[in-house]
Amino acid sequence: MQNYSFLSLARNALTGHKNWQKAWRSPPLKEKYEVVIIGAGGHGLATAYYLAKEFGITDVAVLERGWLGGGNVARNTVTVRSNYLRDQSIPFYVKSVSLYEGLTKNLNFNMMHSKRTMVDVVHNYPKMRDLRRRQLTMDIYNSTYEKISVDRVRQLIPALTGGGAESRLPIIGGMVHKDAGVNRHDAVAWGYARAADALGVEMHQRTAVTSLLRANNGDIHGVETVKGPVKAKKVVVAVSGHTTTITETASLRLPLRTMNLTAFVSEPIKPIVDVIVNCSDLGFYFSQSDKGELVIGGAPDSAQSFRRDIKQHVFEDTVGAMLELFPSFKNLKLLRQWGGHLDITPDASPIMDETNVPGLFVTAGWWGGYKAIPAGGLTMAHHVATNSPHPLMEAFSYNRFKNLDYILETGTTTAR
């Protein structure tokens, strides 16, 4: 893999930037691979990378319907954090955060990971109690969360001028999550793809999978694509939002519902907020990108949808909530908005497991799956390579629903 540094940049500058290698190759599609991963989004690419890097499995093809990195990794609010409630979840996200922090170095690609802390703005006492519970539970897993005063909240977020004592929702305090950060989503996809490619993994864009193929004994046998059949004994489905569309072709039903989550950005402005702001009582959160845009997320639309759309009333509610706390944003302008779909399980925690179709693995049910990309990829790779789940993913088994054994996380950001 070509090294990226100031030096290599300078060297290439002198030759007119003509000698840069392709970030990934475009090899012909083979008939057979050891592992096929459906979906070149964050989780698919990370799984491919760790399969090659950690387990030496390089005969891997990532098949992508559209363009590489065009999954939900292309349309999210890039918040990385580990302030979860349950023992099953916290260590998983702690691992993910730490992997993110080392990703720039390990992939030789600048993820621009900015560990800039998240501030939860709290308006009611039950919420404060809930966050306190999180704080003490997170401490067990070395994730940091601290209670701060209203004054400190305002110091950290100078633009927060609403929420005074006489307002509808007075701020009563806050929590600081220092481990939280933001980074550059395209870089995550491209960095994983480039590093996986260097290890021998093949990326195939515009190669839609039309169905899963099963052998006579029921085991997974490969996939049918628009470019013909591809054999593989192990297939990973990593197609957030479209999981059931794929798995139903193998007569496998999964407890998933697809819905729409939207986000939007403001016009680019000079730095105005240095932390990630989360106002879960009001249902919005945002951070400022390095480019200067405020990246704002709100509540999902509960209705089932496969359409990347904006629900006007959901959007207006989010804007209203934001202006209540940040009235100076009234004259700030909306620049761009978009929607993505995600599939959600009955307990809103993910499924990462081998299904009851032998050889068919799914990583699905991600709601806020961006932060989980590194740990999700690593643990899925472990499962695929060793045929046994990684300890950090055990709780997120497919079988938990058979026993109605839920992992209920009530989110700290509206969209987890």
């Binding site: 730095p271 390095d290 202006l323 004259n331 700030l332 978009w338 026993n403 109605l404 839920y406 209920l408």
Partner: protein
């Protein structure tokens, strides 16, 4: 006050109204009808801003929303960050300044970046700034980015508003197509909503001097506007932009010029049966070296400044084109006194009729612009012949260019309509319509007036939303026009040293796109994201198609196969204030009040939201009392005398019908149907996956009438749950439910002296324990007020819940306080209620019931009927428990040190070690009856661990506590039955 570049006459400005404005601190003058851009050009201002990355000087390029570069920041009253000066109406006293430059727009230190441009190609940051850490570089990058500053304060004057409208036809765009469509639709009697983003109707006719029926086209426009102004079925908005096209034909409009001056902007949500998109077309840039220099403008913009604003953007001009449209401008430009030195046309041949329009101006065919000289203003251009590559330098101060026209397909695309590439006009045009809409005119790829009118007439004939057919009776004879183009996405730049820009705002050059393709970022989405092309304030309205064209050329594929990036809303940036409209303050999340909110406030209550938007008193501190002192005092009153609280927020429902008994047996875990009239029962509701959903009481009024009460927080959810079951699972049942939460308020008097107080209040109900026992209710009067009194208890004391109608609530409350004074009555807030229920081990939703527990976990399995074959949740509770998994169960906690408080939520771990939790503290309060801290917890296997020690793990300490039964007061319940 003379404007340097203002023409003597003409234009659509009002020369009688002179307006002053300041730019970068200097005072200038313009006229009513100017945009900030036209006024700046009139005053000879050319360098308006600096570019995003290289800080190169940027001038005015377009004349409207398409302008990619002329960003300024508005100050003071109008304060807002990035604004295109082509889009800002001139107002008296307007103050603007340049963005992204220091110390000034004329001398910007940041421009030094261009000399290092080689070292900062597209995506350079992905390859660098990694060592030692990104955090070292990030602050500098952030400060450099971001363009304008955000306003520090909300607008000082005025407010925003929103409105809804329903219409038969929404017509977007009041150019020739939109106006004709409006006339046709409106004359048929249909309801029409016409919206246009310009300050006046006319669209392209405001700039192009064409004739309709041998008269100036604007005369036709004016008569059309006049006609529709008199039609009551037409709503006509100018200076208003349709920026989003949502599902089910909903369009969102931002109206900027509102008749009421106190309204800053208004947002419209318009739902239309038919939508007619007539949004016109935007001129495309040409890509050549230094195409960003101030003085390089879109040809259509030059014409607009001349004809509409009466401003001459330059004296000596060269035109560069690949299509016919500029030829028709020659007459007007010459009339304005502009010296046209040459028309450089990249095509080999043009039609003779087109050539005739050049009026003897030199036309240089088969040639391109090779370079532009001048740093802050064009001073000459280099023309190159494509035949012999010969170069010719032509001195000039203005270069106008036209790369063709992009139909504004944004709204069509947002509506989920598809687009396809049309070779004839070298542009993307609408293909399939998904929603009930059509595109007409230039936005449909139809560029000449005659064709536009014909197309409008024929396409509208097919629209059948209204009973009458849409026809246009009159004649429409138009000036002759023609249009042809040969695509030119970029001139050949293979050996070029100078920068040629595809995205003038984000400084995306030819080299950047080449680099993206070299590195394999070959999908158009990759190119966009890698180079940031088209991601600026203008969202690439003039440049994106060139990028697509170039990628297609490089890859040897069709533009359709490259595809476009997504056209996302908003069409233009819109203020969050207008999107939000009137949602402000108390309207954001309205409080729910009870009739005694005012009394509470007057009596010193500390009020806050206590779930479900109810505003309730937390406690009633007296003097300088602390929280704990106040709560203790209130608890003490209830335990030893009498207290009163407002239980009005409890969810209350009356159920009527023959099958109510069966229904309640289905939704509660225990048997309710066997109740005798006048009696009630405490019950649990589960979800069908076997988790506790709500708890409350159910009473039978008579044979077919019942009422139930639920927790305040869940009452809406319970209502929904009940109606859903009746609608879908048991439509055959006769059960009618009325939500009476707001019809009955209640004051609950509780404490050993409650009965004495009742006596003093005077009631016609027999209230001795024999005739009115626990868990019964009686109807009658109290203090002469009709009341329904219920004997339930959430405090563990003798308790009467007195329900009255809201109009009597305050009267009752004040009587209770008055008569209770002699018994030391105190109003009790929700904090004291919390203490009292913890002492009793009564469960609370949100504390013990956190969405994971079943009745067994709480020791309430006695409430799960064994006789009933089915009730909601039964099967799931048993299924889950059949696995024999260790469950977290409700226990009491007595801290070893009675003065140790355990924070609510604190985890319990084995021996207090730093390992996975085995439970957590759900509540911990200072118990007035025990004079110590007592807690409740959910603990693994807790029911079998009474007497053992639990270790609450804090960050720096371990709090040890004895595990007990979860009840600390009156464990056999004698008091509440007393």
């Amino acid at each position: 006050m003379k404007n340097l570049n203002r023409l003597e006459s003409g234009g659509r400005i009002d020369r009688s109204k002179s307006l002053s404005f300041s730019f970068n601190g200097k005072l200038y003058y313009g006229f009513e009808g100017d945009t900030l851009a036209s006024a700046m050009l009139a005053n000879g201002l050319h360098v308006i801003a600096r570019s995003f990355k290289y800080h190169r000087p940027r001038g005015i390029i377009g004349s409207g929303v398409e302008d990619p570069a002329s960003l300024i920041e508005l100050l003071e009253e109008e304060a807002s960050g990035n604004n295109l000066c082509t889009n800002v109406k001139l107002k008296e006293g307007l103050k603007a300044k340049s963005i992204n430059c220091w110390p000034s727009v004329d001398f910007d230190v940041g421009a030094v970046v261009q000399y290092f441009a080689k070292f900062v190609p597209a995506g350079f940051y992905y390859k660098t700034f990694k060592w030692p850490t990104w955090h070292l570089f990030e602050p500098f990058i952030r400060r450099a980015a971001g363009l304008a500053s955000a306003p520090k304060e909300p607008p000082k004057k005025g407010h925003f508003e929103s409105r809804n409208a329903h219409t038969d036809f929404l017509i977007i765009g009041a150019g020739p197509a939109g106006l004709l469509a409006t006339l046709m639709a409106a004359r048929s009697g249909a309801k029409v909503f016409l919206v246009d983003q310009n300050t006046e109707a006319g669209g392209s006719l405001l700039s192009l001097k064409l004739n309709i029926n041998q008269k100036p086209a604007m005369a036709w426009v004016e008569s059309a506007v006049k006609e529709i102004a008199n039609m009551s079925n037409v709503t006509h908005l100018q200076d208003s932009t349709a920026w989003a096209y949502r599902e089910h034909n909903l369009v969102i409009i931002n109206e900027r010029e509102v008749e009421n001056v106190s309204i800053i902007e208004r947002s419209w949500r318009v739902r239309a049966k038919n939508i007619i998109i007539a949004t016109g077309a935007i001129e495309r840039s040409l890509v050549f070296p230094n195409n960003d220099r101030p003085g390089v403008m879109l040809a259509s913009a030059v014409l607009t400044f001349v004809n509409r604003y009466s401003v001459k953007p330059g004296d000596n001009m060269v035109l560069f084109t690949n299509n016919d449209s500029v030829y028709s401008y020659i007459k007007d430009l010459k009339t304005a006194g502009i010296n046209i030195l040459a028309i450089v046309d990249s095509r080999k041949h043009i039609a003779s009729a087109v050539l005739a329009e050049a009026q003897n101006v030199r036309v240089v065919l088969n040639s391109i612009i090779r370079n532009v000289n001048g740093y802050k203003k064009v001073n000459s251009v280099v023309v190159q012949s494509l035949v012999d590559k010969e170069l010719e330098t032509i001195p000039c101060d203005l270069l106008a260019h036209s790369g063709g026209w992009n139909p504004v397909v944004h709204l069509h695309s947002q509506s989920r309509g598809t687009i396809k590439f049309n070779d004839r006009i070298a542009s993307f045009v609408p293909d399939q319509f998904i929603q009930n809409s059509i595109s007409i005119g230039a936005c449909n790829g139809t560029f000449t007036l005659n064709e536009i009118f014909n197309e409008t007439k024929s396409l509208l004939c097919g629209v059948s939303a209204h009973s009458k057919p849409l026809v246009y009776e009159g004649k429409l004879e138009c000036s002759k026009q023609s249009y042809s183009i040969e695509a030119l996405w970029s001139i050949d730049l293979s050996k070029e040293k100078n920068k040629a820009f595809f995205d003038i705002q984000n400084d995306v050059t030819h080299d950047d796109i080449q680099l993206a393709l070299t590195e394999g970022y070959s999908n158009i989405e990759h190119v966009k994201r890698y180079t940031t092309g088209g991601m600026g304030f203008d969202q690439g309205k003039t440049g994106n198609v060139n990028i697509i064209g170039m990628v297609a050329k490089e890859q040897g594929i069709d533009l359709d196969d490259v595809g476009t990036t997504t056209f996302r809303s908003p069409f233009i940036p819109v203020s969050f204030g207008s999107i939000n409209g009137v949602r402000e303050g108390s309207v954001v999340l309205p409080f729910r009040h009870t009739p005694i909110t005012k009394w509470n406030l007057e009596n010193g209550a500390f009020m806050y939201e206590a779930g479900a938007r109810w505003r309730r008193p937390g406690y009633f501190p007296i003097g300088g009392e602390s929280f704990q002192q106040a709560v203790n005092r209130e608890c003490h009153a209830v335990r030893t005398g009498v207290g009163v609280y407002d239980g009005s927020p409890l969810g209350k429902f009356e159920l009527k019908g023959e099958n109510v008994g069966e229904f309640l047996d289905l939704i509660y875990t225990n048997i309710i149907s066997s109740l005798e009239p006048g009696n009630g029962r405490y019950g649990l509701m589960l979800t069908d996956d076997g988790l506790i959903f709500d708890d409350g009481v159910a009473f039978r009024i008579d044979k077919h009438r019942w009422f139930i009460s639920t927790s305040s927080g869940h009452s809406d959810a319970v209502y929904q749950h009940m109606l859903k079951i009746l609608a879908f699972d048991h439509p055959e049942w006769d059960v009618k439910i009325t939500n009476i939460t707001n019809q009955w308020n209640n004051a609950t008097i509780c404490g050993p002296l409650a009965r004495k107080l009742l006596k003093k209040l005077e009631t016609d109900i027999a209230y001795d324990n024999g005739s009115f026992p626990f868990m019964t209710f009686r109807e009658g009067h109290i203090a002469d007020i009709p009341a329904r009194i219920i004997r339930v208890s959430f405090t563990g004391e003798l308790s009467f819940e007195i329900n009255v109608s809201p109009r009597n609530m305050l009267v009752l409350w004040e009587r209770i306080i008055e008569e209770g004074t002699e018994f030391g009555i105190l109003p009790v807030g929700s904090e004291a209620s919390h203490v009292l229920r913890v002492e009793k081990g009564f469960l609370s939703l949100g504390h013990e019931v956190d969405g994971t527990v079943d009745p067994y976990d709480l020791g309430m399995d006695w409430l799960m009927s064994k006789k009933k074959l089915d009730y909601i949740g039964k099967r799931s509770v048993h299924l889950r428990r059949s696995l024999g998994k260790v469950r977290k169960e409700l226990v009491g906690l007595l801290p070893n040190n009675p003065n140790d408080a355990i924070p609510e939520g604190a985890p319990i771990t084995p021996d207090g070690k730093k390992v996975a939790t085995e439970g957590f503290t759900t509540a911990c309060v200072w118990s007035v009856v025990n004079e110590r801290w007592v807690g409740l917890a959910l603990l693994e296997n807790g029911h079998n661990r009474h007497g053992e020690e639990a270790c609450v793990r804090m960050k720096d300490e371990i709090i040890r506590a004895k595990i007990t039964k979860p009840v600390f007061h009156d464990s056999d319940g004698k008091l509440l039955r007393s």
